[in-house]
Symmetry: C2
Subunit: 347 residues, 2 copies
């Protein structure tokens, strides 16, 4: 940079100002500087810049090693987060920390590598958020805690999505509707989507006067299959199912096929917050409310960066709906009502 300054016949500070527009620079001067930079093939050093300015222009994306495993949804999210960071001249660094390792998180946020964090998979009561608040690290949640009134977040509107899902099935004439949630463990851990969706399902079903049955289910096809067998036996009148558990949905479909029944003629299966790429793998392809993963990633990063750059008020709170794509797993309630529960077991 010193060389650039000399070659352009200006002071280093002027080069610096020209470089990051901190202060106006003469048009003519600026041109000379740019020329000198090109000729010397000069690139400013990110570390030195960060050290001197106390702004690294790095942000971290904190994503937990999920019990549930990472899916396509998460990948879309991460992709768009990285892209958005890049568009804003920021770098995205990835921290894969367990949800309960505040120790690690402390170390990471205090070594000065990043200016702020976007944090995924937030729980209703989340000690990581407490930590971030306490230490004053700028952050934006994907999801939200129970007490998020003063923090920025971008989240899927699970209440609304679940309500829409139930209404969709009820609108097709279904009068007994089931709900398949994520695992009991994630529910008990206060994982927001599980809790909010379950509540919303119960409330909506009640409002609409449809009979309801709600279950947690491990995230696996086998668990989904077992659950379906139980459900169909316990609730012979069940014809519609809302599933917020991608992997379980495959099991449900398989169990139905083995039962000799058909989708959507006998049963309607509506998948919630499942990615498009996965919904189209099943047969029949699943009607789905799919999550706005990319938008969420973009929004979370942009919100954080805007606040870091002082470009926005401190608080941005957004709830995004899932978008319904009707495929082939839903249809009107069968005319004769539910099929008899015989043949429930596979041959």
């Amino acid at each position: 940079m010193y060389d650039v300054a000399r070659r352009a016949g200006v002071a280093v500070s002027t080069v610096s100002y020209a470089l990051n527009g901190t202060r106006p620079v003469g048009k003519e001067t600026a041109a000379r500087i740019r020329r000198a930079m090109d000729e010397l093939d000069y690139r400013p050093n990110a570390l030195a810049r960060g050290l001197a300015s106390k702004r690294s222009r790095n942000i971290a994306l904190i994503f937990p090693a999920l019990e549930r495993g990472l899916g396509i949804t998460e990948m879309e999210f991460v992709s768009s987060a990285a892209e958005t960071a890049s568009e804003n001249g920021y770098h995205l660094v990835l921290w894969s920390t367990p949800v309960d390792d505040t120790e690690l998180l402390t170390r990471l946020t205090r070594d000065g590598l990043v200016d702020g964090v976007v944090i995924m998979e937030v729980h209703l009561a989340d000690e990581r958020i407490d930590l971030l608040r306490r230490t004053g690290v700028p952050f934006c949640m994907i999801g939200r805690t129970a007490d998020c009134a003063d923090d920025s977040y971008a989240d899927i509107d699970f209440e609304q999505t679940t309500r829409d899902a139930v209404r969709h099935l009820a609108g097709l004439g279904h009068t007994t509707i089931g709900f398949v949630n994520h695992s009991q463990r994630s529910f008990d851990a206060g994982y927001g989507p599980s809790v909010r969706a379950a509540e919303s399902f119960a409330r909506t079903a009640e409002e609409l006067g449809v009979r309801q049955v709600s279950r947690c289910c491990a995230d696996s096809p086998a668990a989904g299959r077992r659950l379906w067998r139980e459900l169909v036996e316990r609730e012979p009148d069940l014809t519609g199912l809302v599933v917020m558990n991608e992997r379980a949905s495959a099991g449900v479909l398989a169990a139905i096929a083995e039962q000799g029944a058909r989708v959507p003629e006998d049963y309607s299966i509506l998948s919630v917050a499942s990615s498009e790429r996965v919904a189209e793998m099943t047969y029949p392809p699943l009607t789905t409310f799919h999550p706005p993963s990319a938008e969420l990633g973009r929004l979370g990063v942009q919100t954080l960066i805007d606040s870091l750059d002082g470009r926005s008020g401190p608080l941005v709170q957004k709830l995004l709906p899932c978008k319904l794509v009707v495929r082939e797993s839903t249809g009107p309630r069968p005319a004769g009502g539910a099929r008899p529960p015989i043949g429930t077991e596979a041959p």
Copy 2:
């Protein structure tokens, strides 16, 4: 750090040495230093460290915005890459750059933020690799160029995997075997897996004396469905199919169901390099050679870091096989041979 040194009654340099073990430090002294650090709640600053030492302890993961879209496989890869970096005291930063944007890559690698890069989705002829070589940036490829003799890489052994796949079907008695590749575009672009798998398929089929038919196919269920219809008409004797195209495989399965045929009784479908999570979504679940994504991510990052830390020779080249998981989409060739091609069109 200055404060820590004073409180411990030593020079700053000693603190520095104690901190990163660059030089032996008296046991007693080290303890005093540690105490002082704890008492002052001191954290070394990553940027300053990097600036002074010229080693940021950051590495970048370059992943392209894929034509094919990012899947679960990629997510597992990214996860394990981040984890491995973290275990080695490194940070992983994500760069989502187009395969042909060498300009951007130049800027990124020269701003000194990272010490090296792991680069995904390498093509047989890849100008990004040329660039990295030219600029002397340490790197490790995931995949490999055609001329990779002097560079480190970790790749899936597509030759072997494809050979195993063909043999598996041939071993089940199938005598006409098809291959569904990724898109023609990715093949033409010299995407390694497409090219190598196609070659290996052709060679193996020839060796085994089975009749073969090989096709590229857009990455979508619709394309897979269309392709199957064409295939079944053109090759009435076809009973076994190797599919290296996750999304197309769903279409194939759907087309077969619509044709009124059954898997695996009438046709065997063997999926290659498809993730476990997706293979289990279909009905029947796909027999799959699934890719060692996590190992690949770990290996790539570890290789790069080892070389950065001078802990290994300059060259590490590894080819990992995919692992066969037999599910329910493959079986012996039907006794009567292929079913007649009538009813190929859906009702």
